[in-house]
Amino acid sequence: MSRSDEETEEQRAWRVLSEAGLVEIRLDEFAERIRDVKRTVMIRLRELMDFDTGMKERESAAYSLGTLKGLELKVLANAPKPPDPSKL
């Protein structure tokens, strides 16, 4: 029996998110995690476009990409500035 057969849906979701570092995002990793999720959405969007299927999911993916991009920009803009090495 494979691992996926033994897992419940909730356990699988927990494992997938844990492996992706998304159950509780470390405070210094938000921008990186947003990029990871964007990458996942882009891969899926490319699949949908290649096979010319899933119009509704395509729209949803495109919308999510726009949101993620907006969030990434804002989070990066609001990021605490690293200390200026010349002042150390």
Partner: protein, 148 residues
């Protein structure tokens, strides 16, 4: 919503009721706090404390195993869009998700988890995204009261 939450794997005495003292795992260890309300997010429940902090259910002591999470297909487009609007609004207002256990931190965590699960699963399983959501129950991401 309330009835759905009750139906789904609710254990006796779980979730705790408003006003109860609960134990939560924080960065400094286990601490007690007063529960204000419990809200469903896109994936899991958040426990809102009297002091304003937002704690994911899995960090609350006594949380049932396995975790009771929503399925991605239970989240409606409208619900997702509202979440996205709130996130962009909070980000636009200069809020910082690096403030742990605050609303923006909590909602962004859930949104990224939901989005990742949604498109990762769809990609790996080749699901037909055009499937109708008709008949799928919806636990919208709203707060519930906790009377038993």
């Amino acid at each position: 919503m309330k009835s759905t939450a009750k139906r789904l794997g609710r254990q006796a005495n779980w979730p705790p009721q408003e006003g109860e003292i609960i134990s939560v795992r924080s960065s400094t260890g286990l601490e007690t706090a007063i529960l204000k309300e419990v809200c469903w997010g896109l994936v899991w429940r958040d426990f809102i404390l009297e002091d304003g902090r937002v704690i994911p259910e899995h960090r609350v002591s006594g949380c049932p195993q396995p975790h009771l999470w929503r399925k991605v297909e239970e989240v409606t487009d409208r619900e997702r869009e509202e979440c996205e609007e709130r996130l962009l609004s909070m980000a636009g207002a200069g809020m910082d998700p690096r403030k742990r256990d605050q609303f923006f931190w909590a909602e962004l965590n859930q949104y990224l988890a939901y989005t990742y699960l949604k498109f990762k699963q769809a990609g790996s399983e080749g699901q037909d995204s055009e499937r109708s959501q008709t008949g799928l129950e919806s636990r919208s991401s709203s707060c519930e009261s906790n009377e038993v």
